[in-house]
Amino acid sequence: MPPLSILIWLPAITGLLAASLSWRPWRAHIPPASPPPDWWGQVSPAARARSVRDPGQRLSGRLALAGSLATLALAIGYITEYKGPRAGLQHVTDVTWIGELGIHYKLAISGLNVFLVGMTALLFAAATLAANLRSWERPRLFYFQFMLAESAVLGAFLAQDLALFVAFFDLMLVPFYFLIGGWGREPGRVRATLKLVIYTLVGSLLMLAAAIATGVLAARHTGGHITFVLSSLQATPLGRGSQEWIFLFFAAAFLVKMPAFPLHGWMPDGYRAMPIEVLMVFSGVLAKVGAYGFLAIVLPLYPQAAVHFQTLMLLLALASILYGSAVAFTQTDARLIAGYSSVAQLGFITLGIFSLNAQGAQGALLQMLNHGLVVAPLLFIVALLAQRSGGSEDVREMGGIAFRAPVLAALFLLVALATLAMPGSANFVGEFLILLGVFNAKLAIAAVAFAGVVMASFYALRLLIGAMHNRVGPGVRSREISLLDGAVLVPILAVVGLLSLYPQLALHRSEGSVKQAITPLRAPLSPPGPYAARGGCPPYAAQPGSGLRCRALVLGRRR
């Protein structure tokens, strides 16, 4: 297989190519091919035909699609080549990037990210195909931003250096600001962008501070060179006090991204404003970067803090589940039902991670994959429904669509059942493992979390029935799903089906890495780190006025 850099940068490069090749400055005086559609339903066939004739529109879209498909092919190659449950990094690329700061450009595949990379590539390919089915204002810029986003997400998943991870994490957000701000739906586009920027900016800054602090403090303990490579950082755990505040900073950044209650304030506006193709990847993939960050970075690097804050995190996750479910089943906007159900689903994932045992973590990892694979088709179906109900995404204005669209109805039924984690779907296996992990950690929290399972069945079916069944809604013009729309949905659903029949496929490959990620949690509270010789207390803590207490020492004595 080619080095991982090719996988990461391929989308961005094709995006750039798409933008530059289809750029025809001599035709710049020609107005845009069609007015920007507010939503799917308002692109008339004539406008679509016009856009197809516009070579700039077509070429940039097709190039981006080719790039995303090539990326998908590469990602599938990495999955098939990934070797067994053996822990450890594969396909490592390690180059010193900024030597003075100890920042490496280190990428690798592990059991934690191998399937997430595959899911990212699949969802981006599907979303790019979906984007190709409609015309865009400023297509070159759109596709460039879109593909840049894919590169950044892949980078964030594959980075094995804390600073590199932070860089990709922030890079990933930039194209999305532009995608919402530039191509979002009115009304509320500006407000949504603003909210998203404020929330994620605060999160990113906290994370950056925390990342730098980790490198600096670790270097100070070892007395050696500063480094941000994850494996080195993991070998030199920080003192408990520093772990705790750094943990909180990271947690804030990741919880905003997921989003988790009560940091989900950007979500309703953001979901409403985003074009559905952007939302598919935003909800399907970006949310997982936060969860992945907990599993791949926070647990291994700050194990004591994770143990310390376990109950807090579990309660937050529980609140997300209950709150997200409760709002989802009173919402009437189909997109927001999907949005709040994601809050609840991500709550389950957080619950699994912070059960701090192998079952919960395995379940959480599987569920990240499942949620992405299910929420993207769900959102796409919402767009298809809106096409059929006169542009409205309100469930109350839909109804009776199933009769003239049996295939669409069948696909929607499968997606709805997977969303509610029907036993027999991989989502259920994920949820089973997560709740088993939580059951073993904190029984009461698992028992309450099951309420979310029941509520999920209600809101998922309510959406399905409200849209597809009952009498025909006022503005509904039902028609069967088109072949190209089917081409967006069916490959994703095929993967969902495969994972449902054989979840072991993913579980088997991630087992070793997951175990490794949670091993530090099993270590004693005051591990024999580099400063064990000083009685478990870092040198600065002994100096008066250093501002940091030696919590590890204090706690070590108490026990």
Partner: protein
């Protein structure tokens, strides 16, 4: 071929049928979808017979076989494989389910003939059979839960099969959600058991239990909690109090669906579950007592409600609840063979009753109210005979099958002595109620003066409604859709329906002969290997109790019929007088003891209110105003640069990002 191969085949047939029908729904001509669907189930039944013969060739001690195909989830301490367990219990269920299903498919070939959703219907129905067979064959907890939930999904799909009716979709979602509550119980119960046995394999768990995995014996709290939670699953699926409210509403589905899923097979899954888990339940007598008491309460409550309902399908639905109450009570007190025997006979006569009711409803052109029916005895002779046979079996009149199976459950209950005598009395009280409400249906629908529809039919003209109406609400149906179909089927005019009903009638009359006290014990002997480790299995004893039970059963059955005859035939006005005299009691029964209202007030409405509050108030006041507004204000107050950035230009935010990053970076670099 080994028994497990046959079992895999039995599973594969309906699955193949589902896929063929689902993918070929557009290209299958005429009635071929119906015959394909029926054919696969017949093949599954043949495979089940093969499994039976193979199993009987083996020594009794070696009649439990497992087979697995692939690893499903083998990780982090759990060990779920796609595995089946073939033993007498699962083969018994396999035979009953595939046999009755085959007949109901056959009946549906005619019954659903004019419906536009013909292929969809058979695809769903085949999927149901696949799920049910998966449930009874599952070799580990995870697969059992999968089958358990699949039958719930199939039930949902078929309840809301006529999805243009809002009553049908509402009933469907209600059934699904209550069944998910049951699934949750099953999953949580599995956790409690897994915690001690460390395996999800059924046989492995039972071995671990007998090897002392549950420390503390019958007082082990986790085991009791686990078994009670399994019971929650059983109650939801088998419509036991208080998780039963979905079953009467489920009658929105087509009548053959009510016969198959909501009478003969799916709703008896709880009985199977308790019988299957007997090694665990016998170690947790407290949980067994819970099951027995709830079963007894359900049989009584449902019996009283059955007296007051007027929708014929609802009466039969409450009757189903009541009969499953007997079975649940039976398997909870250790009457495993009797409970499963009753499961089988009930499948025969209840399916027959529903089929006859379907034919009757066909003759009424969709009308289901008993108040509008009457005098169909001459117009529908075959239907009448079938309904009568089913009714006699249900009422427990000798020598029909229900007589033997029900009395055996009560016999074993009486044998247990002590407070079980209370259950015994309740059981016979229920028997009296059963006879009364069953023959109330018979007399009101078939006796008395013929209604207009019956008179027309006697002259050879089946009645057709001018405007098809939803029987539940009376609102006109959406006729352009083509479902429910415009034509109604009656058994007298459709050979497949008659054939299916005749075969079930034979079963309803003769199945009792399989197990007659002091004569033969076919069911007992066949199932014995599955219950080899049971301390309660088949404790036959005291003859006086047997004689008492059989004579009580006969007397109460006949007395019930006599009461019904007196009230509804001899003195037609007396029912109204009784109603007027016992008004509160009548209100209680007609409102089904107010369970729906109670659940709405305690659970549904508070949940919706909480959701509304979160959506309308909390989101706005706290999440938006306090958190976002607060953050915004802070930033505004804190930094002039950010205030400039509020203009909404994204490039300012990017600049801010870079600035912030650099600033924090410098801070820490200077620190080091």
């Amino acid at each position: 071929m080994s028994a497990t191969t046959f079992a895999w085949l039995a599973l594969a047939m309906p699955l193949a049928g589902t896929l063929v029908l689902a993918l070929g729904y557009r290209s299958l001509p005429g009635r071929s979808a119906g015959w394909i669907g029926t054919g696969t189930i017949v093949l599954a039944f043949v495979a089940a017979l093969g499994a039976l013969l193979e199993l009987q060739d083996r020594a009794p001690a070696h009649r439990a076989l497992t087979s697995s195909l692939w690893s499903y989830a083998v990780t982090a301490g759990i060990d779920a494989r796609v595995s089946i367990l073939v033993d007498p219990l699962s083969v018994f269920m396999l035979l009953v389910v595939s046999g009755v299903s085959a007949l109901i498919h056959l009946y549906s070939v005619s019954y659903m003939d004019s419906d536009r959703g013909y292929a969809r219907y058979f695809s769903y129905l085949n999927f149901f059979v696949f799920s049910m067979l998966l449930l009874v064959l599952a070799g580990n907890f995870l697969l059992l839960i999968v089958g358990w939930a699949f039958v719930g999904a199939a039930s949902y799909l078929l309840i809301s099969f006529w999805y243009r009716r809002s009553t049908a979709t509402r009933a469907g979602i209600k059934a699904f959600v209550i069944n998910v509550v049951g699934d949750v119980g099953l999953v949580l119960g599995t956790y409690f058991i897994f915690k001690h046995t460390h395996t999800l394999d059924l046989r492995g768990s039972f071995h671990a239990a007998s090897a002392g995995a549950f420390v503390g014996g019958s007082g082990n709290g986790d085991l009791i909690a686990g078994c009670v939670l399994l019971l929650v699953g059983a109650f939801a699926k088998s419509a036991q109090i208080p998780l039963h409210t979905w079953l009467p509403d489920a009658m929105e589905g087509p009548t053959p669906v009510s016969a198959l899923i909501h009478a003969a097979t799916m709703v008896t899954a709880g009985v199977y579950l308790i019988a299957r888990m007997h090694p665990l339940f016998e170690r947790a007598p407290a949980a067994q007592d819970v099951g027995a008491v709830i079963g007894a309460a359900t049989l009584l409550v449902a019996g009283t409600v059955g007296l007051a309902q007027v929708d014929i399908k609802r009466v039969i639905a409450y009757s189903t609840m009541s009969q499953i109450g007997y079975m649940i009570m039976g398997v909870s007190v250790g009457a495993y063979a009797a409970g499963l025997f009753h499961l089988m006979t009930h499948a025969f006569f209840k399916a027959l009753l529903f089929m006859a009711a379907g034919s009757l409803i066909g003759a009424m052109a969709g009308e289901q109210s008993l108040q509008r029916m009457g005098g169909f005895r001459k117009a529908l002779p075959f239907t009448y005979a079938s309904f009568l046979i089913g009714g006699l079996a249900l009422a427990g009149v000798p020598p029909f099958s229900g007589f033997f199976s029900k009395d055996e459950i009560l016999l074993v209950t009486g044998e247990r002595g002590g407070w079980h005598w209370a259950l015994y009395v309740v059981g016979y009280l229920g028997a009296l109620l059963t006879a009364v409400y069953t023959f109330r249906m018979v007399f009101r629908a078939f006796h008395g003066a013929p209604v207009a529809e019956a008179r027309e039919l006697e002259r050879g003209h089946p009645h057709h409604a001018e405007v098809p109406r939803n029987p539940a609400t009376g609102e006109p149906e959406d006729t352009d859709v083509g479902f429910p179909g415009p034509h109604h089927a009656i058994a007298e005019r459709a050979l497949p329906m008659r054939a299916a009903m005749a075969l079930l009638a034979v079963g309803s009359i003769g199945a009792g002969a399989l197990q007659i006290p002091h004569v033969d014990f076919v069911i007992d002997d066949f199932l014995r290997p599955s219950f080899g480790d049971s301390s309660l299995y088949a404790t036959h004893g005291r003859d006086w109790l047997l004689v008492l039970g059989l004579s009580l059963g006969t007397a109460l059955g006949l007395a019930g019929i006599a009461i019904a005859y007196r009230v509804w035939v001899m003195r037609p006005g007396s029912a109204a007088r009784v109603r007027a005299r016992a008004r509160p009691l009548y209100e209680l029964f007609v409102h089904a003891w107010y369970f729906d209202e109670l659940i709405a007030a305690l659970i549904a409405r508070p949940a919706v209110a909480a959701g509304r509050f979160a959506r309308d108030t909390f989101e706005r006041r706290v999440v938006d105003d306090a958190l976002i507004g607060g953050t915004t204000t802070l930033i505004r107050a804190g930094s002039a640069a950010v205030r400039a950035a509020q203009s909404g230009f994204v490039r300012y935010y990017a600049a801010l990002l870079v600035l912030g990053v650099t600033g924090v970076g410098f801070y820490f670099l200077l620190q080091s």
